[in-house]
């Protein structure tokens, strides 16, 4: 049962990811990216990471993609007009991608440490948010505060960048 759900959501995610990078209309690309993120959140739930799955839906499909759609609307982007086909760029890019994917598949299939099934948890239905929060504040307290400063700097930077004229 679990493996069926895994492959359904994985193929859905890869299908919409492929649509994201192939469609011509930026709005269709953004909506495909929303579906990719939703399927990815489902995959996180199959890995018993409920908190990360919820954060994925809230932050990515909620906040980030709304920002993307607003920018596409603000810039009033239409379908891209067809440009002359650059064979060298396509051949180079395709070669790098295919080479990278082939290398990755070979490494994953030859290393013996990856081919084992999911080990059972000692307690099912445990409070996953509590455990993540405990780890976050106990072992990653300083990085957490630095992230807060980073978000503040990003907010100030965005406000400064979107002013009409920078004096």
């Amino acid at each position: 049962m679990q493996i069926v759900l895994f492959w359904i959501f994985a193929s859905l995610m890869l299908l919409f990811a492929a649509l994201t990078v192939t469609l011509r209309n930026p709005v269709s690309c953004a909506l495909s990216l929303v579906m990719t993120f939703l399927a990815l959140a489902a995959l996180f739930v199959t890995l018993d990471a409920f908190f990360i799955g919820i954060i994925q839906v809230l932050v990515y499909t909620g906040a980030v993609m709304v920002l993307f759609l607003f920018i596409i609307m603000l810039l009033d982007l239409r379908n891209e007009k067809v440009r002359p086909f650059n064979l060298a760029a396509w051949a180079g890019g395709g070669l790098v991608s295919i080479g990278f994917l082939g290398l990755l598949i070979r490494v994953i299939h030859t290393l013996p440490g990856f081919a084992f099934e999911k080990p059972p948890l000692s307690q099912t239905g445990s409070n996953d948010i509590e455990a993540v929060g405990w780890t976050l504040f106990r072992f990653f307290n300083l990085p957490f505060q630095i992230i807060g400063v980073l978000l503040l700097v990003a907010t100030v930077g965005v406000v400064l960048l979107s002013k009409k004229e920078i004096k």
């Binding site: 679990q2 493996i3 895994f6 492959w7 995610m13 890869l14 990811a17 492929a18 994201t20 990078v21 930026p26 690309c29 953004a30 990216l33 990719t36 990815l40 995959l43 890995l47 990471a49 990360i52 990515y60 906040a63 980030v64 920002l67 993307f68 920018i71 596409i72 810039l75 891209e80 760029a89 890019g93 395709g94 991608s97 994917l101 990755l104 598949i105 994953i108 990856f114 081919a115 099934e117 999911k118 080990p119 059972p120 948890l121 000692s122 307690q123 445990s126 455990a131 993540v132 405990w134 780890t135 976050l136 990653f140 992230i147 978000l151 990003a154 907010t155 930077g157 960048l161 979107s162």
Partner: protein, 107 residues
Amino acid sequence: MTPTLADYLLVSGILFTIGLTGVMLRRNIIIIFMGLELMLNASNLSLVAFSRYHLTAVGLPNYSGQVLVFFIITVAAAEVAVGLAIIVALYRARQTTHVEDLNSMKF
């Protein structure tokens, strides 16, 4: 019958490659940005898979991996905000989002 760690890593690798292909082959700067998001999410998937498959001594997932994913999502949100602000500023200056029209620094 459950999926193995290799299955999750394979799916994550294919997602990363799709994002990489989008970044290298697309010419619209917003779609390039979406490819970057796909690559970040692929790394998140493999981190969560490692956290679930390598349990700690008490038999719970290794939550350090999930905390790292939390940090990546936060940094990615900040990156999207700054990047899209730069794209808007670029569009105001040049009225284009096509990278081949932005060639004033090209050798």
